[in-house]
């Protein structure tokens, strides 16, 4: 039970850390002058990071509040979090996703660096962004598919 308390408290702790960092990032975006940090960082990067961190913070705090109310569900989730078979499945799926993302990321980098000099079609700026987006999405798909496959057949 103490482990469960510690685990649920750690969710709250990370929620507060993410939320605080998100608010700091939002404050920085509001207060730092554009001349110092540049338009891209002030209007693109910092607000994006703020949304992500504040979102993660809200989700974690909501998760904590739910687990405080539903102790049995929290115990089941905590058990699954430290279950060795599930962790082994996640590890294998993560390793496959890492192999795919590193291989595809490397291929896109090499292509974008060398395609012009060997007469192959080159990526536009936007095309390169979509290529890396595809790498990220494919990695997620491989990770989730690996877990689902192992859970249903393993």
């Amino acid at each position: 039970m103490r482990n469960l308390e510690r685990w649920t408290f750690s969710i709250l702790k990370w929620g507060l850390v993410f939320g605080a960092l998100g608010l700091l990032s939002a404050l920085a975006a509001l207060l730092l002058p554009m001349k110092v940090i540049g338009e891209g960082i002030k209007q693109g990067f910092l607000p994006g990071v703020s949304f992500l961190l504040v979102g993660l913070g809200i989700v974690s705090i909501a998760q904590y509040l739910y687990m405080r109310r539903h102790r049995n569900t929290a115990a089941q989730i905590a058990l699954r979090e430290r279950d060795e078979r599930i962790n082994s499945i996640r590890f294998r799926a993560g390793y496959r996703a890492f192999q795919l993302s590193s291989s595809l990321g490397f291929a896109v980098l090499i292509w974008s660096a060398l395609a012009g000099s060997v007469g192959l079609p080159t990526f536009s700026h936007e095309g390169l962004w979509f290529a890396f987006l595809a790498v990220v999405c494919l990695s997620y798909i491989v990770y989730v598919a690996g877990i689902v496959h192992a859970e249903t057949h393993g």
């Binding site: 058990l79 279950d83 060795e84 078979r85 599930i86 393993g154």
Partner: protein, 70 residues
Amino acid sequence: MKNRLEKFRTDKGWTQQQLSELVGVSRQTIISLEHGRYNPSILLAFRLARQFDVTIEELFIYRMEEDEDA
């Protein structure tokens, strides 16, 4: 690797859920173990053996010919 987990568990009159809570794993892991689809870590093997008051060798049956890497 084969095991006698289901036999020992039913002899004790425990459900899969009860055994999973005793050794700190999910019920799905107990199911996978009983069907021989998952080989446990040495720590989990010790925890299971301790629950039934038997040795690991009594609970899990290791055959070298089944181990392709041996």
